[in-house]
Amino acid sequence: MAKNFIRFEQNDHIDWGEWKQGKVFPLGAGELNTKEFLEFSKNNPSSGSKSYSAEELKILSPITAPCQVVCQGANYRQHLIESGLDPDEKNYNLFFSKSDASLTSPLGKVIRPKQVKLLDYEIELGLVFGKSIRETWNKNSGEVSDYVAAFFMANDISARDIQLPQLQWYKGKSYRTFLPAGPVLAVLEPGDFQLWKSLELTLLVNDRVRQHDTAANLVFNPEESIRELSHFCNIEPGDVLLTGTPSGCALRAPGKLLQKIAALLPEKKKWELFQKGQLKRSEYLQPGDNIRSFIRSADRRIDLGDQILRVEQES
């Protein structure tokens, strides 16, 4: 069964710990980055009997920069529909990237930049690579599961008023604090990889369920996505892939008719209308909102922990 680890800071000292029954058992591993820790964990590190509750520690992202953050868009059917895409017409796997400057603690805050009004949330299952991919997938490449070392939870926070009108996905999704990750790094053991299908993703804003789906409903599954990724991307251990978000985001595409009319408008006018329409939606994150999310299987064989975030306005 997967082993769960947490990266934390205590008295200005960074360490990793095993996460067991709601407690952190420090490993005395020291300040290792994700790649180094994956190596370290292969030697079955043992923890002492001393443990801490999460409240006693500053919990950090188990994914460390520098790393490459590859993301998939529109990868759950219902999310495609509400994003204004026709699932039967969209037949390509959509990849984009996020800056690793956006990585932040899973128990902390998300900062809404001054110029941003349309702040959105996206819970995602993240995969951590444990092995390099430096050539296009071929018959000697082996099993995809050999390349994935761990699972974790990510929130792909997005500024929709930058991402869409400016056509800047990289910027709109990469402000600092836009990638809360963790708390758990679930390091996989043989056979665990296939359990991704049973993972349930849940995101609540102020205790209300906004997103919920099972990873089994991914349009492009991790196996085929990683194989495709190898055609245009080199991967190193510690790099991550975010597999896309289920339906229920704040963003909602205008209806088909409205889109057709908007297509006839000048670009500036079109996005003014978009902004005006979206601002009416009460789903967008506001300062003071609490986001709680978790990814686990119903039988809890894989449990990526609880992410608890508070939205704050940039001062």
Partner: protein, 367 residues
């Protein structure tokens, strides 16, 4: 535009008390005689029989866990809960509207009665662990496992009898106001949502499995379940048995007596227990179960979609009438009364729930 769903019940940071277990259920019954006979065959042990009240216990305690009381209709009268701390008991006693009974309700323990948001009386008693629990008796049945024959040269003994009930495990309540009632149990008794089920379309929470928070001490995955319903009522109660053999023996005995089965043997998904459902003479569901999940306070809440299939991982086909989705005149009347008394009831949630409950769990079952 779709509404943002209602909030989910959450564990309270500062509950009024930390209760430890469900104590008893009180039921009104028109026909006490038939109910008395049924619950003996079901496996409960009668400890007091008066003209207007019969008390039963399970094997783990000499205190009553089941009270049948003479009434002009079949209904839920009340619920009993234990707290382990006398301080908690005093705190609850001091609540406005709390009624104190020095001499106890159905046993001789001092009891404070609170009223939950649906109007149900909840009796709270302070009991230290030792008084409540008899040492658990294992009957020491021998099992043969592959490669390990503990029952060498001994055939399995044949014994026809009612199931031996260890204890009352949990009760499932339907409530017109889901969130208000679920939150009340969390805030008043420190209960923790183990799992929540939501509707697929609206993402509205409609079922919450609540366990008692006893810190590091393990609790049943659920002792009280609150579900969204058309009426305020008791959906079923479940009693713990030693093992699967007991569950099956109990079933054989009840079927042999000509009683109606409620479902059949299977294993639940949330809570994991092996279950078997029966119907008492009033038609109410009662469950024999074994091997349920036990959680301490560290296990966080899970959220899952609700549908018929989400009720079991394996088992006999679920009968069409297992989930009561019919709208009787009495239920509609209760609903109307609830609306008139300004309860927060969402008809659209009830309609979505009914729709989901009517979907067949297995493609080969055509209801």
């Amino acid at each position: 535009m779709k509404q943002i769903p209602s909030a989910c019940p959450v564990r309270s940071n500062h509950p009024l008390s930390k209760a430890s277990d469900i104590a008893y259920i009180r039921l009104g019954r028109k026909n006490l005689k038939s109910a008395f006979e049924y619950y003996q065959d079901f496996g409960l042990d009668p400890i007091e029989k008066k003209e207007d009240r019969i008390l039963f216990r399970g094997n783990s305690s000499d205190l009553p866990c089941w009270s049948l009381e003479k009434a002009d209709r079949d209904f839920l009268i009340g619920l009993g809960i234990y707290v382990n701390s006398s301080e908690d008991f005093e705190k609850l006693k001091a609540l406005p509207g709390a009624e104190f009974l020095q001499g106890g309700r159905i046993n001789s323990m001092p009891c404070v009665t609170l009223i939950d948001p649906s109007g149900l009386p909840v009796d709270v008693m302070y009991v230290s662990e030792e008084i409540k629990i008899n040492p658990v008796v294992h009957w020491g049945e021998l099992w043969n496992y592959p490669g390990e024959s503990r029952r060498a040269n001994l055939p399995r003994s044949y014994e026809s009898r009612p199931a031996r009930i260890i204890r009352l495990g949990h009760a499932v309540f339907l409530k017109q106001e889901f969130l208000k009632n679920a939150s009340w149990y969390c805030d008043t008794f420190g209960m923790i949502p183990s799992d929540i089920q939501i509707l697929p379309e609206s993402k509205e929470p409609v079922i919450v499995f609540l366990r008692f928070d006893q810190g590091e001490v393990l609790s049943d995955h659920h002792s009280i379940v609150i579900a969204s319903g058309i009426t305020d009522s008791l959906e079923h109660c479940a009693f713990e048995l030693e093992n699967l053999d007991e569950v099956a023996k109990g079933r054989e005995w009840l079927l042999g007596k000509g009683y109606r089965s409620g479902w059949g043997i299977g294993r639940h998904l949330l809570g994991s227990q092996i279950f078997d459902y029966h119907r008492d003479p009033s038609g109410m569901l009662v469950e024999h179960y074994t091997d349920g999940d036990k959680f301490d306070s560290t296990v966080p809440t899970g959220v899952h979609l609700i549908n018929r299939k989400s009720l079991y991982q394996w088992g006999e086909d679920m009968p069409k009438d297992f989930l009561d989705t019919k709208l009787s005149l009495r239920k509609l009347l209760e609903l109307w009364k609830g609306i008139l008394s300004k309860k927060r009831i969402s008809i659209s949630i009830l309609m979505e729930l009914k729709k989901v409950a009517e979907l067949s769990p297995r493609t080969w079952i055509k209801y």
